[in-house]
């Protein structure tokens, strides 16, 4: 909880509220450890969301793979220009 408060830059009550909602829908699972409460993500509950976004993500992944090739060409050209007789 303290980790989340510092990472998110939100006040503790806000973080508690978000975590409660996430717990209620089963997106996170909580475990008591002494005075601390440890939260972990519940993967299977998040899978439908992941699946929904996956195809769109795939399109951009494929685009960016092609973009990598373009960039490699530009880098080589630029290096070539650096040693040319401009």
């Amino acid at each position: 909880m303290n980790d989340l408060v510092s990472q998110l830059g939100l006040a503790q009550p806000q973080v508690s509220k978000h975590l409660r909602v996430l717990r209620e829908v089963g997106a996170v699972v909580v475990r008591e450890d002494g005075r601390r409460r440890l939260y972990r993500l519940n993967g299977p509950a998040l899978k439908p969301i992941h699946d929904w976004v996956k195809n769109y993500e795939q399109l951009w992944s494929e685009r960016f793979d092609e973009l990598d090739v373009v960039l490699e060409g530009l880098k080589q050209k630029e290096q070539g220009d650096g040693s040319s007789d401009e």
């Binding site: 195809n55 993500e57 399109l59 494929e62 685009r63 973009l67 960039l71 530009l74």
Partner: protein
């Protein structure tokens, strides 16, 4: 939570109900990523992701200037997008609108506002594209447009939206 970056996969997240955030790191300085993103001859080489032929790639890169991309799929369907540049900070940031041209008749076209940000660190560039829609239905349709059979789903969904607006 430890952030894991992969150079192979684009990361898509949904920060709010109206947004899509696409992130990817490239092994190149930002001025080159910016060029590949804004020069038609270069955009043609990656934007279709080998899913079709780029029929039109027009970029008038100035504030108020228009852009238009049209791809023809192998089965002859044309998929077009266009918009207008709103803010241009060379090598740093581009804000533009985007309109999908395939809306069925009777449904108002909706423009998303897309912000592309180029951040360089140690010669590598992180590209972030934040897509801001005006409501959740259009955002959801946009996400589903990436599916192979997504167009029909999108049109079905659109019909629902149209009905709910009526």
């Amino acid at each position: 939570m430890e952030a894991v970056t992969s150079s192979q996969t684009a990361t898509v997240t949904l920060p709010t109900d109206e947004q899509i955030l696409i992130t990817r790191e490239f092994a190149a300085p930002k001025h080159l990523v910016y060029r590949a993103f804004t020069e038609p001859d270069l955009v043609r080489q990656w934007w279709t992701a080998k899913r079709g032929e780029m029929k039109t790639c027009e970029i008038d890169l100035r504030v108020g200037g228009k852009w238009r991309y049209v791809m023809e799929t192998p089965d002859g369907m044309e998929v077009g997008f266009h918009g207008e540049y709103r803010e241009i900070e060379p090598n740093e940031r581009i804000v533009s609108t985007e309109i999908f041209e395939g809306m069925p008749e009777g449904v108002a076209e909706e423009a998303s506002v897309n912000t592309a940000t180029f951040t360089e660190e140690d010669g590598r560039t992180t590209l972030e594209i934040l897509v801001q829609h005006s409501n959740k239905q259009f955002r959801d349709m946009h996400v589903e447009s990436g599916m192979e059979d997504g167009l029909q789903d999108a049109l079905d969904l659109l019909e629902e939206v149209a009905v709910s607006l009526g």
